[in-house]
Structures are given as C-alpha cells and as structure tokens.
Assembly symmetry: C2
Homo-oligomer: 532 residues x 2
C-alpha cells in the first residue's frame, strides 16, 4: 500500500515537474535527482484522512511537492523508528545502537560545547547573577567580562527584546572585526545580517534573486540539498555544474562556462553561482588559484557569488588553508563595486558545532543601496534572528585570545576537537578505500566523506524492483543490518550512473573501530549477495 501511494506521489511530482519545466528539458533531467529523492522522502500513511479544507497533495503549492531534502529523508525516518524500537524492545535488532552519520550534528554524537561560549550564553540569559559572589566561583573571569561587554552593546541590556533586523549592532561590529582579522581586509558591520543558522540567509537570497523558473542558479553537483530545496521552493531552476571526482572534487571553470552557456541557450537567466568551500558533501578545500578563477568568472559573467563558507574552521589537510572569497576578491584588487558577493557562516559547524543554537550570519557586499534596502525589508518581516544565536555568532568570530583566563582551556578544547576530527576522517577514508569497489577521496575539510560505490548490476536491479535509487537501497540495507545511517548520493546529485553515500566523520573516536568493523562486514556480505 505504501508503495502504491509513493508511486502516486512520484507520478504527481513528475507531472508537476514536467509541466513546469518542459522548456528546460536539459536542466530538468539533471535536477530530477532531487525530485526523486523527494518522492522517496514522502512516506504516506495509507489511512490518510481527507481534510475538510480540501488541502491535498494535488492542491498544495507544487513547489513544496517538488522540493526534496534527503538529509532528513526516508532513511532517517526509518532510523528514527528503529531507534524507538531499540528503546522499547532492546535486543530485537542485529545492533544495539543507531549511529547517525547522516547529518553534520556533532553534539548529538557526544561532542562537547566550548566551555567559554556556554558560560557567556548562560550569563547573558540570566544577567541578574552577574553581580553575585557565587558567580565568580562558577564562571571564568573573562566570561563574566565578556557577558558585561555584550550586555552593554544591547539597548537596555535586554536580551529578550527584538533587536535591529540585521542583528545587534555591537555584535555585528565584533563580527566585522573578526572578519577583518581573518582576511586582512576591511569588513563593514552594516554588511552583516545575523540569521538563525545559515539556511535562512540562503533562502533570503534565493527569494530576492528568483523571479520564475526562467531564473537559474549554478550549483555544484554533488551539493548540499538546502540549495536544491531552496531553489525549488522559490520556483527557480537549478543549473548544475559537476565537481570532478577524479581530481579530488575539483571545480573546472570550463565546465562552469559550458553549463552557463547551455542554460542561457535554453532561455534561462543565470543569476548566481553557489560555491561550497570547504565542500559539502565532498569535503574538498579549494585551491587559491581556483578561487581566483571563480571570482573572475562571476565578475565577467555578471553573477552573484553565493559563498557557503560554514566549514571555514574545518580544514584537515596540512597543505590546504581556508581563504574567504572576499579575501580572494579583494586581494585581486576587486572592490565592492566589482563583484556581488554573499558569504554565509554558521555557529553549527567549525569546532563549535552549536547546531541547536541556530546562529549565523551573511556578509552581503557589492549590491546597490536600494537592493540592500530590500534585503533588509525581507529580514525585517521576521523581525530578527534569535539573540542567543546572535551572541554565539559574535563569540565564534571573536573567541578568547592569548592571555585571557579561558584561553588555555579554550585552545585545548578546540585543538582536541579538530585533531580528533582529522584522525576520524583519515580512519574512515582508509576504511572505505579498503572495501571492494569503493573509492573515497580525502576529506580535506568539512565533516563528510563521499565515497563512490561500484555497485553490482544485480544490486541495481534489486533497487529498481523497489523503485528506489541503488545507493538508497545500499543505505537502507546498511541501516537495517548495522544501525549506521548515511545519506544516499542521489540526495545530493551525482554523475548519472555513479553511486555514492555521504557519511559524516562525527561519531566519537571510541565508536570508530566498531563502525569500521560493522561497515566492512556488511559490505562484504552485500557484495557476496550481489556480486556479478
């Protein structure tokens, strides 16, 4: 029954997709990865009630139907059910724990928050304790001082008030100073828009730029599905460019150019280029030279550069370094007027991993004042982002410095997390590369591995019989037999005919040997079952 309903949904989605995109068959055939991932994420209760208001899958906004988001798709829903089962009926599954390697959510897997950051947040949440003597015994002196500084930046010290729609001005000044220190080029607090994580900023820019499906956004394939989802929700067209797996997920300007030209020849106005650096799901860190080419390309073609830089602190390859696109552009001599550039940053990633706090910002440069005013207006409709997240965004851009009381502890916590992530990345990369038919590029940065699976023809056929992608089939079997949750590559997009999975490097180190063991045993069994 479920299969029947899923089929009906898939049909609906295809119908919507084709009817709205038949002028762009080239693009739609490539973007259809995402709608298919959507269909697999739509699990429908067969006892489905009709609503009195006539709201059905047939009558809702088809853009919503079209949007897919694999990171929380069908595999994850199934994992949550199995997790419940383990709690209620321990011993009924072939494993005793679900290992969520599907999402970049470090603290859910045991990563501890940075103490200094949490001290400051607690003090700002309950400032009346700042003056009490017991507080000195509980909190570091510099966290108390920082809390006072932050409170003094907030009108009336009111951490429970709506702020300016771009965020508290003093915090934006702190963030701008942090960007300046990072880049060596000036940053303007008025360019900073504080947001509830990076996602709302991405939505805001898509909302601004996309007028209809005739407007396109160049996106990497594979990509983090926020982008495909946001483009679908805002009714635009995803114009794909492929990252080259053979060269460590390199970004070829020639490929960018040809995809841009193809899109233009189909009547699509390409408005922006998305670059995720360090890459998600692919983990590469772009070379400086490559970034320069990208800047030049955007400038020449009149594209907004949407730079997803949320993994800027997550670089593990010793020969690689993170450079912001703003730094690259300015170091090439390009001024504000030369390139429209939006950089997204989040408190969810880095060594801090504060996903649940929903803090982040976008730095918006190279737009005219009247367009900026429109961005401000859209931000103001939601009043402001949450103040706790705003404070945290200022803290990650201005952590304790040498000499501060908390510095030694802070530096040790940071180094402990980042060096452990680097070790975990290497161990898992080696494990994947040791499997039959699996090749895995190095995780130079970010939080993911994206190994390629050469799946046997028989496995692909088995998946087809169940109307799911072959990598989704592999991921489902992996979950059912080992409790390990990964996301099928088809949720991110991939070269047709290739199969991947995305696996985070986030389980704590003491869990890694068991993961490697279970994964290796599962893969061998899977291959034994399906080997051609």
């Amino acid at each position: 029954m479920r299969r029947f309903v899923a089929e009906r949904t898939k049909h609906l989605i295809r119908k919507n997709f084709l009817s709205s995109s038949n002028n762009h068959s080239f693009l739609s055939s490539q973007s259809s990865f995402f709608s298919s991932s959507s269909s697999s994420s739509t699990i429908v209760d067969p006892s489905s009630m009709e609503s009195s208001s006539g709201v059905t899958l047939q009558t809702i906004n088809p853009k919503v139907l079209k949007c897919g988001y694999a990171v929380r798709g069908a595999i994850v829903t199934q994992a949550e059910k199995l997790n419940e089962q383990l709690k209620k009926e321990p011993g009924t599954l072939p494993f005793d724990e679900i290992l969520f390697c599907n999402i970049g959510n470090p603290q859910s897997l045991g990563q501890q928050p940075i103490t200094f950051f949490r001290e400051v947040l607690a003090l700002c949440d309950h400032p009346t304790i700042l003056d009490k003597s017991e507080t000195q015994g509980l909190f570091s002196a510099d966290s108390i001082e920082r809390a006072w500084q932050i409170l003094d930046q907030i009108p009336g010290r009111a951490t429970g008030a709506y702020s300016h729609s771009q965020g508290i001005k003093g915090l934006r000044e702190t963030i701008a100073a942090g960007i300046e220190a990072r880049d060596g080029f000036p940053a303007n607090p008025n360019d900073i828009f504080l947001t509830d994580g990076a996602s709302p900023g991405v939505h805001m820019m898509m909302q601004l730029l996309l007028r209809s499906e005739q407007d396109g956004i160049l996106c990497p394939i594979p990509q983090y599905p926020l982008y495909s989802a946001s483009i679908a929700l805002h009714g635009g067209t995803l114009v794909p460019y492929y990252l080259d797996e053979a060269t460590g997920w390199g970004l070829e300007i020639s490929n960018l150019k040809s995809q841009l030209e193809t899109a233009r020849s189909k009547g699509v106005t390409v408005r922006a280029l998305v670059v995720i650096n360090p890459g998600n799901p692919t983990g590469q860190v772009l070379a400086e030279e490559n970034q320069k080419q990208i800047v030049e390309f955007c400038k020449k073609e009149g594209l907004v550069l949407l730079a997803d830089e949320v993994y800027q602190e997550n670089v593990y390859a010793p020969d690689k370094e993170f450079y912001s696109f703003k730094k690259i552009a300015r170091s090439m001599g390009h001024e504000e007027k030369d390139i429209s550039l939006v950089s997204f940053q989040s408190v969810s990633k880095g060594y801090y991993g504060e996903c649940g706090k929903r803090g982040g910002y976008m730095e918006v440069t190279g737009f005219s004042a009247d367009v900026r005013e429109q961005i401000y207006k859209v931000a103001s409709v939601n009043l402001c982002s949450n103040i706790t997240g705003q404070i945290l965004a200022s803290l990650v851009m201005s952590p304790p410095k040498v000499g501060d009381e908390s510095y030694v502890a802070y530096a040790a916590e940071k180094e402990g997390i980042l060096s452990s992530l680097a070790r975990r990345a290497k161990t898992l990369e080696d494990a994947f590369n040791s499997l039959e038919g699996v090749t895995c590029n190095k995780a130079e940065g970010a939080m993911y591995l994206f190994p390629r699976l050469q799946l046997p023809e028989k496995a692909i056929k088995a998946a087809e019989a169940e109307h799911i992608a072959a990598d989704a089939y592999y991921a489902r079997r992996l979950l059912e037999e080992t409790g390990i949750v990964v996301v099928p590559g088809s949720g991110f997009g991939q070269v047709p005919g290739t199969w991947h999975i995305r696996c985070t490097i986030l389980p704590q180190e003491d869990k890694i040997p068991a993961i490697v063991e279970r994964l290796t045993a599962f893969h061998k069994k899977f291959m034994d079952e399906y080997r051609d």
Copy 2:
C-alpha cells in the same frame, strides 16, 4: 533627490503590481495599502551603486518589491536616526528620549523577564554547573529540577544539537499537556511544530497553500502586516474583510461571506481565513459566539482557519476571556476531520514578552497525513528551530505551579506585568479619547491601541503634497516633535478615507504621564495648525 528616487520606486512597485494583478482589480485596489507602505519604507541612498551582477530593483523578484512591512518602515528608520543623533548630540532635538511605541517589544522598554524562565534557560545553556554547590545559592530549586527534566528529554542532553525538525519530542509533550490543561480537550505532541517565533510558522503555511495569485487568503483589515507581507512574498492574493470599528472591531460573518463571494467571482480560490485573536492592531477579544460562527463558516466553505493566538495571555477586559479556536471547534463537537485549523503561539507576547528568544509553535490539526508530511519536509529544510526558544515555549505552556518554590515570585511577576498593562491601556485609551477628533476603542486584549484620527482637510493636503498617507504624515510629525514612535494605520489597512495610528501600551508606567502630556500638546498644536 530622495523624493525622486522614492517616486521612481513607487512607480516601479505600481507597475509590478498592476502587471501582475490586473485580473483582480477589486482585490488589488484594496491590497494596495500595503504596497504603498512598502514604497514609503524604501529609503534609497541617492549615491546608489550599480552592482556588477546587474541586480537592481528592476531585476529582483517583484514579490519582494511588492511586500511591505510597516512595523519597521520609514518612521522607524527615521526614529533610529534621531536616536543616534540624541546620543551623539544631546540637546539638539525638542525631546531627550525616543519612545518606541511602534512594536510589541516589551523588554526593549524595560519589562523584566520572568525570573524562573531565565534561570532554566541559563542552566540548560551551561549544564555543567548543575552539580556545583554554588548553583544552589544562585538558582531556585525548582529551576534546577526543571533544567534536569528538560535535559533528560533531549537525546544526549545536547542542547547544542539539531533536534527533530518539529522540535524536541519531550518539549512537544509538555506543550501538548499545557494546551490540554488550557482547553480541556486533548492535544497531540505530533501536531506541534516548534518555530522561531510565530512568523516562520505563518510563512510555512502560506508557502504550502499559495500556488499563484489565483489563490487567496481572507485577512482582517486592519491586520498585522506579517500576513500581507507573507502573502505578497509567496505570490498569493490578500482577500480583505473589514473589522467593524463601530462595534469594537467586531467580525461580521456577512462581511466575510460577501468578500469570499466577490473573490470567488473574480476567479480567486480562497484557501484560508486568518483570524487574530486577541486582535492586532485592534485589541479586541472575540466573543465565544462569534468564534463559533467563524468555525462554522470555515467548515462550510472549506477554508483552513489560521488562528493567530499569540496574545492569548493578554486579556484585560474583565468580561472577556480567551478561548482557543480548537477549544471552540471541539466544544461544538467538531472533530479533527471536520476542520483544518492551525493555531500560532509565541514566547514574544503574553506576560513573558521574550521577543528576542524567537520561540513559538504552531499546532496543526485537520490535515491529511500526506499533507502533514509535506509540512514536515519544509520544516526539515531549515533543520529545526532554536533550542533556547523551544525550551522557553515549553516553559510558557507549563509555568511553575502552586507549591513550587518559584511559584509565589512567578505569580507576582506575572500579575504585576498584566495588571500594569491593563492600567496603561486604560490611561492611554482615555488620553486618545480626550483629543479633538480622535476616537479610540477599548484595548480588551493584546498590546495595542488603534485610535481613529479625524484629520482636517488641510492636513490631508499637506500629506498629499509630500506623497505620503495622511496618518503617516501625522506619525512623522509626532515623532519629530515628541520622540513618540507609532505606526500609521495605512500600514495595517483601514477603511479608505479613515486614518488611524497604532500605539503600543508598552512604555513603563512611570513614562506614561509624560507620553500623555507630550501627545496632548502635540495634537493640540497640530490641530491648531491644520484645523479646517
């Protein structure tokens, strides 16, 4: 120069508006209140830089251009500039303080947060202090106990992890129990979607329901401009129904019906009815009988009922009480399947006023499982709402109870805030009613007064000469001469030819006499200048 650019913008907006809406002139002529408020909020720097990417007002999404949000419009921008001037050059203005009566932001005007709530938040932000002996001296015993309870509801006690996309399950259970206690009817934790304030929930429903401008939403006029803004951003049509000022902003079902029929005759599919109760900006509390008629109307006409119930704790009229629409519907014998109903609640209002925490929820009932799955999918694209806001939403729906250590202090804080708000509402209402040509309905609830101004013809002419609405002119003069910030009625919509302002009742009580005095003197002077 600024005027020239504003004119150009207005022209653009009109052009966009007309070209996209010429099939619905009836509706567009009524909604044009909101687009005109947008134009006045677009203050353009004359030295406006052209962007390299060709992103201009002409090439951005026209829905963004069309959207207006008066609560943070031109008057507020001007007030912020004057506020800066007061700081830098004290004594250069005819007042020494800006009084922000434009927005329901209680803590920005000195309202203190509820101690118990902040204690729990601080402990959840920094749980490592829970076990320390100093903590017992700083925090109440029940806040410590509540923090433990909440942490135990969070997998791994990780307050820095993304939660389930609907919010932490244990917190949703607490909220559902709070709704049950309020209504006397069951609530299901799976119906609760925790959100960053109420606004994202409203956007999510608009995104779901609106397919094109052929889809309409019945909205009260006057209305809180989030609704007009969200409908504009999602490309639908606002179908207005007028609240009747003469009967204390009553909601006439006959008016609802005729507006629905007119919209249908223009080819608009009306999908939902928005009701704000207690009302914003109008402050009325609906009578139970009226609520029953509304439920019956939605059921009969197949409309989703979008119930903005964020002011549920703000009822001042002794003869009025808040009833949720769910309670009303269930008490009429209507089951889940009989009516599609979404109730919005927020931590920003009530006696708590925690606007900056961005917490809230929507309770979604009466939709089929497959549509619910789509709402979940959209929620999951943004991962989850902020955990601090989630915790606070659970606290406001489950505050301390009789016998808890914090209860007496909590009850006194709550009573102090609500009784003071009632006194302030009465004093300001009387003050407005004492002014020449001003009539002001009672604030039965919410946080606002919405007095009607009979403006002299000469004042209207003076406003026309400056290309702004007459009430915007009055509000600007009021700001420039007294420092009091109110929002012109034209930002909320009003019967054509009538003029209003919205003024919050939120300044602290010791400020009220000065506000009344300045307002009275200003009004007299204004009338002396313009009286016909």
